[in-house]
């Protein structure tokens, strides 16, 4: 299991790169669908049998939701249901190591898998009254508030890229997308809101 970078023994601090940095810096402000990159996030994929699910949630600090396509949050951390035995655990910052260690300790001997995927994807937030309209230009899901309520999350598609989409507020969506697909998704979100104010 990974831990976090250190600069021990080296003169320069490791430099983390964001694949959206240049696109985001030139992004126009449009109030009806604001587009922002999210800060670095620790991401862990937890998968396992019934016996490991409870202890994993307890160690993480957020009970892993058992309802399909729902996420739960507590003190900045979120656990997203992605499949009946699959969750992605999100925590602010790049501190995957200690979180992973805590979960591993709590689930020792119980059948499960925990994998650090902090660098695999990047987070994007789309917010505003036209956010759903912009997303629906590439996402084939019904994003009406009644059909995709706050607290819902799912893997789905945005144009030809797979994303993890969650609704964090009535007009706010979070998109998690694999790093190499992020510029494609960002550019299409920009295209989608081009006609908006």
């Amino acid at each position: 299991m990974l831990d976090t970078p250190s600069s021990a023994g080296h003169s320069t601090m490791p430099v983390s790169a964001d694949p959206l940095a240049s696109l985001a810096s030139g992004s126009p402000r449009r109030a009806t669908a604001r587009l922002t990159t999210l800060d670095r996030t620790a991401r862990l994929v937890f998968r396992g049998r019934e016996s490991a699910i409870g202890p994993a949630g307890e160690a993480f600090g957020v009970a892993l939701p058992r309802e399909a396509c729902r996420f739960a949050s507590n003190e900045g951390r979120s656990a997203l249901w992605l499949g009946p035995d699959e969750w992605i655990l999100l925590a602010p910052g790049a501190q995957a190591g200690p979180i992973a260690a805590a979960i591993e300790a709590a689930t020792a001997g119980l059948p499960h898998s925990l994998v650090d995927v902090s660098s695999r994807s990047v987070g994007i937030e789309l917010s505003g009254p036209k956010a759903a309209f912009v997303l629906n230009q590439g996402c084939p899901l019904d994003l009406g508030l009644g059909r995709f309520p706050v607290g819902m999350c799912t893997r789905t598609l945005f144009h030809k890229a797979e994303i993890v989409l969650s609704r964090t507020a009535g007009e706010t969506f979070r998109i998690d997308v694999w790093r190499s697909f992020a510029p494609y998704v960002w550019s299409l979100l920009e295209e989608g809101r081009r006609e908006l104010d």
Partner: protein
């Protein structure tokens, strides 16, 4: 674009799914005991019915689960979807069962 009901996630658009061929064809527990003909039958021969067809789908851009569906190959409407490992439900008029 079809609507397919994932047994886990509910009704979702076809784009999120991948077809997985005919359902209920279990891999033999010990393939070495099969004759070449039996093995070829397992690998290649499928029923390809006109009408109700039990088939595998995977919600690949969703929960990732494989599941089974009974689809009418004439109308393209799904009659029922069910989780992998469950037996094919009884359906009136289902000749293939």
């Amino acid at each position: 674009m079809l609507i397919i009901t994932c047994p886990w996630c509910g009704a979702r658009p076809e784009l999120e799914f991948r077809y997985g061929g005919e359902a209920h064809i279990a891999r033999p527990a010990d393939p070495s005991t099969l004759t070449d003909e039996e093995w070829a039958d397992f690998l290649y021969n499928r029923t390809n019915p006109k009408g109700l067809h039990a088939e595998r789908w995977r919600h690949v851009h969703g929960c990732g689960r494989f599941f089974n569906a009974v689809r009418d190959t004439v109308s393209d409407f799904f009659v029922v979807t069910y989780k992998a490992g469950e037996t094919r439900p009884d359906i009136a008029g289902d000749q293939a069962k």
